[in-house]
Every structure is written in C-alpha cells, then in structure tokens.
C-alpha cells in the first residue's frame, strides 16, 4: 500500500490513512489561525514550551518514582508537572491553558479530589489485611530483562499527592490565570 503524501501538519488527522492514525500528533504544531495576532505572541517561547512540555512531564514522573531513593517525591513531581502546564499557559495565553485543561477530559478539581481519595484509600487499604492504617509493604518481583524490581505500596500514596498537586496547580491557572484574564476582558480593560 502506498503511503499517501502527507499534507502540512496543520491538516486534520482524520483525513489521513489508518497507518498514520497511530503516530500522528493529534495536536497541531503551531496553530496559525487560533491565537489573535495582536496578542503579543512570542514564537520562541511558544515553540520552546511545546518542545519542553512532554520532557518536563516525563521528568516529573521521574521525580515521582525516584523519590524513594533520591531527591524528589510526589510533591516535587506534582509541582514540576504543574509548572509544565503553567509554561504552556504563559506561552499560549489563556485560550491555550483552557484548551489543555479541556483536553485532559478531567476537571482540575476532580484530579485533586481523586488524588486525595487515592491517598486516603491507600491509607485505609492495610486495614483490609488486618494491619493498622497507613502500614506500607514492600513488594519484590523478578522481572525478566530488568532484574529485581521493588515496589513500595507507599508509592501509591505519593501518586495521590502528585495528582492532588497537579490538580491544585491547574485549578490556580484556571482561576488566577484564565479567570482573571476573562474578567479583565469582560470589564473591557486591558490585562497588563
């Protein structure tokens, strides 16, 4: 089957063949028509933010996992992930911030509440096994290729913290960032 010639990246993904559906980014690289031209865009920042965004998210996940062995943990990881969203928001303006949050298919407060729920459930789970609440256990497994893998159940609590922090930061972007911006627009005075 011949690969159809690909159009510019701004072409919608749905028009492309099944083969491409797998690895085409469904987000457009630089949306020319979306941001108002007069809004003082900085192309450098916008591009840098887009490139850095996934990297920073991966770094945040690394911080989350490495917390048991070095500097890091759910709190730091969550803050780094939150800052990644802040970067996108600053680069792209309020509309992009809102867009990112919308694309998550989850409301920030659900994320934060979910994090807290996860943390509380982790805290209560040991009681099912007749242990005091908040007991942690270490699970070890031999994984082929990688070798021995340790998993500490308290990591789940850290994941809860991580999710909660991300939710909290997104909520701040929504209220202090986009909220104030729209307020300024509604009040018909320019946001400085």
């Amino acid at each position: 089957m011949s690969v159809p010639e690909r159009g510019p990246l701004s072409e919608p993904a749905s028009e492309q063949s099944a083969l491409w559906l797998g690895d085409t980014p469904d987000e457009e690289w630089t949306p020319p028509g979306k941001t108002p031209v007069g809004a003082g865009r900085t192309l450098m920042l916008e591009m840098a933010a887009r490139v850095l965004f996934p990297t920073v998210l991966v770094f945040s996940a690394y911080l989350l996992l490495v917390g048991h062995y070095g500097p890091g943990g759910g709190f730091s990881g969550g803050l780094v992930a939150g800052l990644a969203f802040v970067l996108r928001y600053i680069a792209g303006g309020g509309s992009e911030g809102a867009e990112i949050v919308a694309r998550l298919h989850i409301r920030p407060r659900q994320l934060a509440g979910g994090g807290l729920t996860l943390a509380v459930l982790t805290a209560l789970a040991p009681m099912l096994f007749g242990q005091p609440a908040l007991t942690s256990a270490k699970l070890s497994a031999q994984v082929p290729v990688i070798g021995e893998l340790d998993l500490v159940t308290s990591l789940v609590l850290d994941v809860g913290v991580y999710l909660l922090i991300v939710g909290v930061v997104l909520e701040l972007i929504r209220s202090l960032g986009a909220g104030i911006e729209r307020d300024a627009r509604d009040a018909e005075e320019p946001a400085r």
């Binding site: 890091g72 943990g73 803050l79 407060r109 805290a123 908040l134 990591l155 909660l164 202090l176 009040a187």
Partner: protein, 784 residues
C-alpha cells in the same frame, strides 16, 4: 447491648422509607424495637438484680476505648422508662399525628433515634460512652423541639434547650476527663467501687454536676424545660417528662454511692434540688396552659429526685428509685391526656376548657389514677416513694434532716395542689363557661394512657416488686443504722410520722387548691425582679454583643491589621515563653561554610530592599530572590529535597503573583503613609523577625532528648524500601501528617478559587453586590 442500640439507629435511618408509604405504619414499626428492648430487659431482670449484666465491645483498643454496657437495677428501671414508655408513646403518636402531617415522617425517625441513644445512655458503663449518648440526646431534643423550624417559638425553645444542655454537657466532659484520669479508668462500676480522691476529683465533681443539673433542668437552668413544651405533645411526654430530663438524675444516682459523702456533691444537689422543687411547684400552681403546668410539675419532681439521690442515705435512694419509676408512669399518661384534650378540643387552656369530664368519663378515671400517683395517694406507686422519702429524713431526726423533710413537705403540698389543679383545669365544669365541644378520642390514643396509669396502680399495690428493685439499688449505699438496713417499701408502715406528713401534704394541698385565687393573687404581688429566663436571655445577648465587639475590633478588613494581630500574638505567647525559659545554646556557630555568607547576604539585602520599593512587580521579584536564596542555603546544608520543593514552590508563587499583578496597580500607593503609621509597623515587623530568628536558634538548641528519632528513621528507611529518608518520613513514617496536609491544601485551593471566581461576578455588578446569584455562565465557570 450495643447491638440493640445500633438496631435502633439503623431502624431510624430506614424509617422514612416506611413513612413514605404509610405514616401511621411508620410509628407502629418504630414501636416494635423499644418493645423488644423492654422484653429483653425484663427477661434479664433476674441477672440485672443479681450480679448485673455486662457487655463490652472494644472499638479502639490502642486508645483503651470501648463501648461498655451494664444492666443493673437502676439501668433496668431506666430501660422500663425509655423503652417501655417509648413503645407506648410511639404507638400513641401513630394516632396523634394526622395522616398527612408533614412532621410525622421526621418525628417518627427522630423519636426512634432518640430511643436508641437514650437506651445507650442508661446502659452505658463507661463515662465516655455515656457522654457521647448524652450529647446525642441533646441533639435529638433540639431537632424534635425545633420541628420543621418554621415557627419562631420552636426555634427559640430548641436553641435554648440545646445551649443550656450542651453547655452543661461540655462542662461535664471536662469533669469526666478529670475524673477518669484521677481514677485511672472510665468504667463507672470500677469508679464507684473504688472512688478516687484528691482536689482534681472535687473539680471534676463540680463540672459533672453542672452537666447533670442543666440536663435535669435544675435551678437556675430550669426555664429551658417549660420552653421546650413548644414540641408536639408526644415528644414532650417522652423526652421532657419520662426519659431525657431524667438523664441528670440518673447520672447523680449512678455516682452518688461513690461521692455522696463529699460536701461538694450533696450540698449543691440538695440545696438546688429543694429550691427547684419549690420554685417548680409554685409556678405550676399558676399556669393556665395544662402542658406548661405539667412541665413546671416535672421541674419540681426532678428537684425532688435530685434531693433523694444526692443525699446518700439508703432509704432516700430507695425512695428515689421508686419515684423515678413512679414519675415516668404518672407524668407520661398526664402528658398524653393533655395531648388528647388538645386534639379533641383544640385547646389546652384552663380558662377555656369546661365540662370535659362529662364527655370523657373514662379519660377522667385514668387521669385521676395518674394524678393521684403524682400527689402520693395510697395504693399508688407515688405513695410508696413519698412515704419512703419522708422516712429517710425523719427517722434519725437531725436538724438538717428535719429542714429537708419540712421543705419536702412544702414541695409535696404544691404537688398535691397542682395535681388537683390539673384535674380541675382539664375536666371540671367551670361556672360561667360553656361546655367545651369535643369529639371522642380514638382507642389508639386512650389505650397507652390506660396502660401507663394502671401500671402505676399495679406496681403500687404489688409493693414487693418495686421494693426488690429499690433494695438492690439501695444496697450500694452503706446502711447507717438498723432502720435503714431493714427498711422495705410497703403500703402500710403503721401510723407514724411519715404517714402524718403524707396526710398533711394532701390536706394542705387540697386546701391550697381551694384557695387558688388567693394564691394566684399573691403570686402576682410577688413580682419577680430576678427571673432565670431573663438571666438566660441576658447571658445570650451579652455573649452576642461581646462577639460583635471582638469581631469588630479584630476583623477590621485590613491585611496589615490582621498581620499585626497575628504578630502581636506571636510576640506575646512564644515570645513570652522564650523570655521565661529560653537559653542561647553554647556551641552556636555563626556559619558552617563560607558560601552561606553571600547567600545570607542576598536574602538580607533583598528583604531590606523589599520594604523600600514602590513597584509591585519589583517587590514580587525580590520576594522570589529571598525564596531562592533560602533554597540555596538548604542545598548548602545538605537538604536537596527541601531545596527542590522550595525552588518549585517559589517559582509557582512567582507565577501566581504575576497572574494577580495584572489586575493590580503597578505601584503600591500614590503617597507614602505618615510616620506615625510606618514607625509602629516597622518596630513590630523588626521585633517579630528578630524573635523568629532567635526562636529558631533557641528551639533547635533546646533539645532535651538525643536525636534518636531521626536515627530510628535512618535505620528503618531501607526496611521501608527507601534510601531517601526525607521521602520515607513523608509517605511512610509520618504518612498521616502528609494526608492531613494535602487535605488542607485542597481545602485552601477550593476556597481561593471560589473566592476569585465568586467575587468576579459581584464586582462586575458595580455598586450592587449580589453574592451567590451568579449568571449561568458564572455558575458554569465555578463548576469547572
């Protein structure tokens, strides 16, 4: 026993589902459980009168917390009142509330809930368990008196009852903790067998008494009880006559065997109890509302019961137990009669009812039975109690006892008089008044009245049954002499002094009733400059004014003022502690490494510059510089985790600041404030800053125990699967703290976001602020 209590609560929770189908059936279903409880208690009567029936369910063994229950003679009597009368009153309510009554659903569930928690209270053998149920009954009472909250009278009465009883309850909690600590146990049976001593116990007893006196509506807390008559009559009959108000008396009866010797226990009880008996009886003589008449009668009788249980004599205690049962069995039917009268005639005013006795002759007979028991006429349960009460204070003939006996005689005279007044007011044909129109009450209403009134007669006639209960309870008190040791409750003790007293009370009481107009005139003339109700209102109003004044002074709406108050508090409390007991550590070095100097310098310079700048943006950047400088110090001191978190938070704070700055003026204020404002602020800020620095050094140098905790953490960390101790502490050793902190964080953010988004809409309205009435778009935005 916990199972029975929980069954009540579960049943109460599902009762609304039954009510939705049939309101009357809901009351019927609700009555089943108390009836079962009564049967269970009577079935275990043998063991209750012997060694007592114990059951313990521990729910937090690490903290030594358990639900301890115990059924003994006193408990059995209370269960008869709570569950026996509860079942009857619930059945009565089925006919009392209309088929369509909107209050019925709530009332049925709440009455059953109350029956459950009251059962827990009277069975509790643990002071903390008792306290929990004690407060739950207060809440049930609040909800039942308040009803739908539509009527001002209900709301006020409910609030008054709640404030007074919960005030006492909280005092009691302090007392319970003091007593439990002094005794080393919270089990009532253990405390009673081996009472603790010491000054802490004295304070504990005063506090516990406060709880008992407020709950049982003793002087000067009594006005809440007549006010609570705003509740529907079955509720009044159950909570405010038969069971809940007896909780205070019950507690006194529980603890008296251990503490009645102490003056701090019996003096206030006897003095206030006698006063309450007289005041309640006197007020009952002048009430025109039948229900309030009974309410003041209840106040009076509760005072009587307090005196009997508080003095610590064996015969008095036996009399108390008989009267405790007797009061429930005569006061409940009288209330139910008032309910019937109210229902069939539409009024319960003495001045409007006339000739009802001709129309409802059978109700008159039942009422006479109950009222005669209240007045203490022979053959009835009330007689047994009153006879024993006089005997208790007359048999050894000291001055103190004679005084008590004579006051009791006066109180009993009032009791006879208001019993007569009740019968006269409800049923007599009054000259000049047309006979009141009345329908015939349904059997569902009259049968419970008959059952309770007759049981007073039966138990009075079969004196040995009550005597068995009373002697079992009285055995807890030491017998002072042969009379006390051999005393039995009986219908006939021969012609003796107590008999004479009883006869005198009846004679004088009837006389007082016949001369009622003269007495009421006297009552009018004795106008009260001091009234307990007025006192309550003054206290509540005073508290509100005080709260307004304090709030007005402290919450002035200025951020510098808030910060100032906080810093002043810090200076006063930890600062005072520092001056009192702090000492500068001897080996405190100025710095560890050279790199600390420039970092510290950066922080200090940024802080100093911060107070001089005029532009907000510069200020924010300087705050950031301080934060990063401190983060640098963390790295130097070997705390990479802390530094990482500090840098990230600092960055995020900076961004948040910048977001907000867009909407704020670029400069702080146009002109500098005057010196008299700046100088105190500067002094306060500098002092507080220095205090914190000194506090940091002193507190970290004031270690009294070696740092074993940290070593323990370092040792355990690999076991928890971690090489990073900080993280292991956060998510494992101190995980509960983390959980608490993230919860606080979530709440703080929810509050911030709501404030930011909620004020936006308000501000747009211009001058008119309409909080909480957002446009649809605004609501949508609030929801995310």
């Amino acid at each position: 026993m916990l199972g029975l209590v929980v069954a009540h609560l579960v049943m109460a929770a599902v009762l609304p589902a039954v009510s939705a189908r049939n309101r009357r059936a809901a009351f019927g279903v609700a009555a089943v459980l108390p009836a079962v409880t009564l049967a269970w208690a009577l079935g275990n009567a043998g063991q209750a009168l012997g060694p007592g029936l114990d059951s313990t369910t521990s729910w937090a063994p690490e903290l030594g917390l358990a639900f301890d229950f115990r059924l003994d003679a006193l408990g059995l009597v209370m269960v008869v009142l709570v569950s026996g009368l509860g079942a009857l009153i619930l059945a009565y309510s089925a006919w009392y509330f209309g088929r369509r009554s909107r209050d019925a659903t709530r009332t049925a569930a709440l009455l059953l809930f109350f029956a459950g928690v009251m059962l827990g209270l009277v069975l509790a053998d643990d002071l903390l368990t008792l306290y929990v149920f004690w407060e739950l009954t207060s809440i049930a009472s609040f909800l039942l008196v308040g009803q739908s909250g539509e009527h001002r009278a209900n709301r006020r009465a409910a609030l008054q009852a709640l404030l007074v009883t919960v005030f006492g309850g909280l005092a009691m909690l302090l007392g319970i903790v003091l007593l439990g600590t002094a005794a080393g146990t919270y089990r009532i049976s253990e405390i009673v067998t081996d009472p603790p001593t010491g000054s802490a116990v004295t304070a504990a007893l005063v506090l516990i008494l406060l709880g008992a006196l407020t709950k049982s509506a003793q002087l000067p807390f009594h006005p809440w009880l007549p006010a609570a008559m705003a509740a529907p009559t079955p509720v009044s009959a159950y909570l405010h006559a038969a069971s809940m108000v007896k909780a205070g008396v019950f507690l006194v009866a529980r603890l008296s065997p251990a503490f009645a010797e102490r003056a701090v226990w019996w003096v206030p009880i006897v003095a206030l109890g006698l006063g309450t008996m007289l005041v309640g009886g006197w007020r009952a003589l002048h009430e025109t509302d039948l229900k309030r008449l009974l309410a003041f009668g209840t106040v009076s009788q509760l005072g009587f019961l307090m005196v009997l249980f508080g003095t610590g004599g064996r015969i008095a205690a036996m009399a108390g137990l008989a009267l405790l049962l007797g009061h429930g069995l005569f006061k409940a039917p009288l209330f139910l009669v008032v309910g019937i009268v109210d229902k069939v005639t539409g009024t319960r005013d003495v001045g409007k009812l006339s000739g009802l006795g001709r129309r409802l002759p059978s109700l008159v007979v039942a009422s006479v039975l109950a009222a005669a028991s209240m007045a203490g006429l022979p053959l009835l349960l009330g007689f047994l109690g009153k006879e024993a009460a006089f005997e208790a204070f007359l048999h050894d003939g000291g001055v103190r006892n004679w005084l008590v006996a004579l006051t009791l005689l006066a109180g009993s005279t009032f009791t006879v008089a208001y019993s007569a007044r009740f019968l006269w007011g409800a049923f007599a044909t009054k000259p000049g008044l047309p006979a009141t129109e009345a329908d015939q009450p349904s059997r569902g209403l009259t049968v419970p009245v008959w059952i309770t009134a007759l049981s007073g007669l039966v138990l009075g006639t079969l004196a040995p049954i009550v005597d068995g209960l009373a002697r079992r309870y009285g055995a807890a008190y030491p017998a002072q002499d042969a009379v006390e040791r051999d005393y039995h409750l009986a219908l006939w003790h021969g012609l003796n002094l107590p008999m004479l007293f009883s006869a005198a009370a009846v004679g004088l009481g009837v006389l007082a009733h016949l001369r009622r107009d003269a007495l009421t005139a006297l009552h009018r003339r004795l106008s009260h400059p001091v009234s307990a109700q007025r006192g309550y209102e003054l206290v509540v109003a005073g508290l509100e004014r005080f709260a307004v004044r304090v709030t007005g002074r402290l919450q002035v709406g200025s951020l510098p003022a808030y910060l100032g108050f906080i810093l002043l508090t810090v200076l006063a409390l930890p600062g005072g502690a520092l001056l009192a007991g702090g000492s500068w550590p001897a080996d405190q070095a100025a710095f560890h490494t050279a790199i600390q100097l420039p970092l510290g310098l950066i922080v200090v310079i940024a802080a100093l510059a911060l107070v001089r700048v005029h532009r907000r943006f510069t200020a924010v950047l300087l705050v950031g510089a301080i934060g990063y400088g401190i983060g640098g110090l963390f790295i130097v001191d070997g705390a990479p985790d802390l530094a990482l978190a500090q840098f990230l938070v600092e960055t995020l704070t900076l961004v948040a600041f910048v977001f907000v700055l867009r909407r704020l003026p670029a400069h702080f204020t146009e002109k500098r404030p005057p010196r008299r404002v700046i100088v105190p602020k500067a002094v306060l800020a500098t002092t507080a800053g220095i205090l914190f620095a000194v506090l940091g050094v002193v507190a970290s140098g004031a270690r009294t125990a070696p740092a074993t905790a940290s070593e323990e953490f370092a040792r355990l960390a690999p076991e928890a699967g971690a090489t990073n101790v900080v993280n292991a502490i956060l998510v494992d050793f101190r995980a509960l703290d983390t959980l608490g902190e993230i919860t606080v964080l979530l709440i703080a953010v929810a509050g911030t976001v709501s404030l930011v988004l909620a004020t936006r809409h308000d501000r747009r309205r211009g001058t008119q602020v309409t909080s909480g009435s957002g446009t649809p778009e605004h609501e949508e935005e609030l929801l995310g």
